[in-house]
């Protein structure tokens, strides 16, 4: 996996492949790569090398201030060890890219907001979500309960008290703003 030629850590073919598999453009991929290279003192780059979470977060201010930072890291870390490889980062920014279609974004967002990883967004998940959104001054239990109830009333088409992936994606596809808020520039 080491770069073929001296200097460039990934080959042209790899770059082409990444551009075909993600929604990122080549300059964006190279940008991410350069950021990671700066991180690496050993000059020993490989696409599989994993970097610790803290270092990655420092590189990208968008991640640093995000209340769902840990979830993003959890969902996109391919080995769920809170370490990030180059490809994991590409995955992350591909989803957050402007060109990624809304449905794809929503599918990932579902995983992101599913805090207990049970493939359903339940009332508890929504309450955690509220806490994270308001960060410092949190709502009381009662208020969160109300919000969760109302939200489920709006989104839960099947009336079964939780949201599946399809419910969620469907609801999000009715929200044109979601495309813009769930994206960031590199």
């Amino acid at each position: 996996m080491m770069g073929a030629s001296n200097g460039s850590p990934i080959t042209d073919q790899q770059l082409e492949e990444y551009a075909e598999l993600t929604y990122l453009t080549k300059p964006e991929i190279i940008f991410i790569l350069q950021r990671l290279l700066n991180l690496d003192e050993t000059r020993h780059f490989s696409t599989l090398k994993r970097y610790p979470e803290q270092a990655v977060v420092e590189l990208f201010p968008q991640l640093k201030h995000n209340p769902f930072r840990d979830r993003l890291l959890y969902v996109f870390s391919s080995e769920r060890d809170d370490n990030f490889s180059f490809e994991d980062l590409l995955d992350l920014f591909s989803v957050l890219s402007d060109k990624c279609p809304l449905q794809v974004k929503a599918t990932w967002a579902f995983q992101l907001y599913d805090f207990d990883n049970d493939n359903l967004i339940t009332k508890e998940d929504i309450m955690v979500l509220c806490d994270r959104l308001t960060k410092e001054e949190q709502f009381s239990q009662q208020e969160k309960q109300t919000i969760a109830d109302l939200l489920l009333q709006e989104m839960d088409l099947q009336n079964n008290g939780n949201l599946g992936v399809f419910d969620f994606v469907h609801a999000m596809s009715k929200m044109p703003e979601f495309q813009h808020t769930f994206s960031c520039r590199l």
Partner: protein, 863 residues
């Protein structure tokens, strides 16, 4: 998922029938499986899956004869021409069933087998008839955008298999390859997984390709042409994205304020790009040739010139008044020549009047089309597709509230506070007792609103009248000094700003229930005011007696309006905010807040400028660079203001809807401009001393002369006469009316269908609940609902999906449905395993109510 589910449904329907003659299907399957050697492992994966689903069939079903897997194998092995093979299993099965008893369950099975077959056939024929015949681009959007995430599987093999079922993805040509890349991109999986999927798909395609015959030469050229086109498009796209205008600034703004504020800047950028395109065309087709041809020979200009302020030297004041030296420059209509000339000797003539007329008309029309299209798209996305968003306020506030672009500590804190505030407000609104809906209350609020509207209208009318009166009093007088020319524009701009403030204060008194309503009404009022002022000015200019070069005069007025607006609303207001901010910093008491950044006012300002520009295009073609420069400057001024002076708006307003409204306003003003242009071109006499159209009475005559030169029998002439016949125009209008009616009816039908489908979804959820309850009951060793019905009943419960099941239960819950009493012979079945007391009950007739609607429901599900 939808597709996945239907496939499995088919599988379930057919599996039941296999119990008799297992042999036929099985043998067929084996023979095919032998052919498709590599597919074996995949098929097993799926076979297990299907087994898990139809577990109730137990002993009868050996995992091997799984029609789904078989279909899979067939289609894999034979590629496209599997039609006959595809049907064979169901043929075998129907034969097998005929011999059996005429019990209900069997008739049901036969019916379901027929259903399964017809579904399959229908799907195929419909697919062949529709999607296949569509142009490739449409096909692409339909198939890829339509159902992006049909892959529900989580492992590589599963997803690969589902992708392989789509034939248009698996063809061996460049278009299919593009489609494949797009499809793989859209899978919500990691890069490593996608890579594997791609490798597998490529393998499959290559294997199939060796069997298909080689493509013809023509087709090959066609393909390679398309590939090159796609490559070039890709290159251009990457070029455009790489050189995105103001990329750094946009990123900074987004990082500080999120996507809502950056929407305003995007709007500004969009207008700027539009103007730059306009500039390119106008300069290259109109101004540049004029400059090359040299100044007009000015036949009689210096004898009795009405405009006194023409000078041959440039003075600084001219920049503001647009007069003096500039009067004779290419900035205005008057300077353009009415002659044709040859730029390079020996080549064709270049007719400047035609170029002038055509460039401007075509550009305005093209802009109109662009604006209409983007308005339509924006409207579709934010209002039609998001239908019923009115109720989904909370969804929006929770799931769309955090901006992932925020990259700044302060901004993040502000965002948290805003979200909290909005949510609290929402909760308070819920908890608040519904407003007293007494007659008096209602009357009072209605009266208040009516009064406010009346006041605003009266104010606007008053403004219009006074502007007219002032123009009539002072507009005609000669300019004594150069600066006095600025009076009119100063007046109108100040009026616009002042009355905008007054309306805003009025809006606060009115107290609308929702902020959005207030905002929109505010926007509309401001816009109406703007439109009125511009309209009055135009009407005055066009109706006054035309002496001298009146076109240039109007151009100058417009120039002054734009310059003064720049001075006032851009520079002066920024200075005011800076002063206010300075005071805010000085006196730390909370008396003076930092100035707010009002997005609506700024956006309306943009629309105002753009309207003036579009209108002025005819009279002053080089207003375009002026406005473009202004917008460029405005971008940086606004950015500075936002970053350092103003407090960002703290409302989580729905940017896409406001954006749509703004586009609608742009559309309306552009439409007005088009109408006015049409009036000017056909009804207003051009001045006889200057400009490209001197020598004709009306602008359109230039064009008509060209047509009249044609012989009487010329095709164009005949077509023209034919088209302008009243009958044809009436017919076209009628047809448009019919189309509009049809579309309206269609949209109504779609709304109804959406409603119906939602209800269906609810019912389905109930079905699922019921089935799950039954399942757990049986697992605990109890019986299905309806004790007396016994084993067959349970079979029905588990096998027939939620359709036939729980008839008694449903009868209780839904008495309004149509029911049918069914009396059928019992089936002799044994070894159903799951039911302990099954054998004792066989022999009793099966009775039950069955809903007619179930068939309806199935049909719905199929579609």
């Amino acid at each position: 998922m939808a597709r996945h589910r239907t496939v499995q449904h088919d599988a379930m329907c057919q599996i039941e029938i296999h119990e008799g003659p297992v042999g036929g299907g099985d043998r067929l399957y084996r023979s095919i499986a032998a052919n498709a050697s590599r597919e074996e492992d995949k098929i097993e994966v799926l076979a297990e899956d299907a087994d898990g689903l139809v577990v109730s069939d137990g002993g009868d079903m050996e995992g091997a004869d799984n029609p789904l897997a078989m279909a899979e194998a067939t289609s894999d092995a034979e590629g496209i021409s599997t039609e006959d093979q595809f049907q064979s299993p169901s043929v075998v099965t129907t034969n097998g069933v005929v011999g059996g008893n005429e019990s209900f369950s069997q008739s049901f099975r036969r019916w379901s087998s027929n259903l399964g077959r017809s579904v399959k056939n229908n799907k195929r024929t419909v697919y062949n008839k529709t999607i296949r015949l569509m142009p490739s681009r449409l096909q692409k959007t339909l198939s890829i955008d339509g159902d992006l995430i049909t892959t529900s599987g989580s492992d590589v093999d599963h997803i690969t298999m589902e992708l392989e079922q789509r034939e248009q993805l698996m063809e061996d040509n460049p278009i299919a390859e593009q489609l494949r890349i797009e499809a793989i991109k859209s899978i919500a999986q990691r890069i490593a997984t996608k890579r594997q999927i791609r490798a597998q798909l490529t393998q499959t395609v290559n294997r199939r390709a060796t069997r298909s015959k080689s493509i013809g030469l023509l087709r090959r050229y066609n393909y390679s042409g398309k590939v090159y086109a796609a490559r070039i498009a890709k290159l251009l796209k990457s070029f455009v994205t790489n050189f995105e205008l103001f990329y750094g600034s946009m990123k900074q703004i987004e990082g500080h304020f999120g996507s809502r504020i950056s929407a305003y800047f995007k709007f500004l950028r969009w207008l700027l790009v539009l103007d730059l395109t306009l500039l390119l065309f106008i300069v290259s087709f109109v101004t540049f040739p004029q400059l090359l041809a040299g100044p007009t020979e000015a036949p009689t200009s210096n004898t009795n010139e009405p405009t006194a302020n023409v000078r041959d030297y440039f003075s600084f004041v001219d920049l503001f008044t647009g007069e003096g030296y500039l009067t004779k420059s290419v900035l205005y209509y008057g300077a353009y020549s009415n002659q044709s000339f040859t730029l390079v000797p020996g080549t064709a003539e270049y007719s400047l009047p035609h170029a002038y007329f055509l460039t401007i008309t075509v550009m305005v029309l093209a802009t109109f089309i662009v604006v209409s299209i983007s308005m339509g798209r924006s409207y579709r996305i934010s209002f039609i597709e998001a239908s019923g968003t009115v109720q989904n306020i909370l969804t929006h506030k929770i799931f769309c509230s955090w901006d992932y672009g925020i990259a700044n500590e302060k901004a993040a804190r502000l965002k948290h506070a805003t979200i909290r505030h909005e949510l609290l407000e929402q909760l308070a609104q819920r908890n608040r007792p519904p407003p007293v809906t007494g007659r008096w209350q209602h009357l009072r609020s209605t009266a208040l609103h009516a009064l406010a509207h009346a006041t605003v209208l009266a104010l606007i009318v008053g403004v219009a009248a006074s502007v007219w009166a002032l123009l009539a009093r002072f507009g005609e007088t000669e300019h004594f000094a150069a600066w006095s020319a600025l009076y009119v524009s100063l007046l109108s701009n100040v009026t616009r700003l002042v009355f905008g403030r007054i309306f805003r204060m009025l809006g606060k008194v009115e107290r609308y229930r929702t902020v959005a309503t207030q905002l929109n009404i505010q926007l509309l009022r401001d816009f109406l005011l703007q439109l009125t002022i511009v309209g009055v000015l135009l009407a005055f200019w066009l109706t006054r007696s035309h002496t001298g070069c009146w076109e240039t005069a109007i151009g100058q007025e417009l120039y002054r309006l734009i310059v003064v607006d720049f001075l006032l609303s851009t520079l002066l207001l920024t200075v005011v905010s800076a002063v206010r901010y300075g005071l805010h910093r000085r006196c730390t008491t909370a008396t003076i807040t930092p100035p707010p950044f009002c997005l609506e006012t700024h956006s309306l300002g943009l629309i105002y400028n753009q309207t003036l520009l579009w209108f002025g295009l005819l009279f002053a073609p080089l207003l375009v660079p002026v406005v473009a420069l202004k917008f460029l400057f405005l971008f940086y001024v606004n950015k500075f203001e936002l970053l350092y002076l103003c407090q960002p708006p703290t409302k989580l307003w729905r940017s896409s809807q406001t954006q749509t409204l703004l586009l609608v306003l742009v559309f309306v003003s552009l439409f007005g401009v088009l109408l006015t242009h049409g009036y000017i071109i056909t009804q207003v006499r051009v001045s006889s001393e200057c400009g490209p159209f001197r020598g004709t009475d009306y602008m359109y005559q230039l064009f008509m002369q060209g047509i009249l030169k044609l012989r009487e029998e010329h095709l164009f002439w005949r077509v023209f006469v034919y088209i302008t016949k009243p009958a044809i125009i009436g017919g076209v209008l009628l047809a448009m009316g019919v189309v509009a009616y049809y579309l309206r009816a269609k949209s109504r039908a779609q709304i109804a269908k959406v409603k119906l489908l939602k209800e269906l979804l609810c019912m389905e959820a109930k079905d699922k609940e019921f089935l799950l309850a039954n399942l757990s009951k049986i697992a605990r060793g109890k019986e299905c609902i309806g004790d007396g019905f016994g084993s067959d009943r349970i079979d029905g419960c588990l096998r027939g999906g939620g359709l036939r099941s729980g008839a008694t239960d449903k009868y209780a819950t839904d008495p309004s449905a149509t029911w049918r009493y069914e009396h059928s012979q019992p089936t002799v079945r044994s070894g159903t395993g799951t039911v302990p007391s099954g054998s004792s009950l066989t022999g009793s007739p099966v009775r039950g109510y069955h809903r007619f609607e179930d068939e309806e429901k199935l049909r719905m599900r199929r579609s």
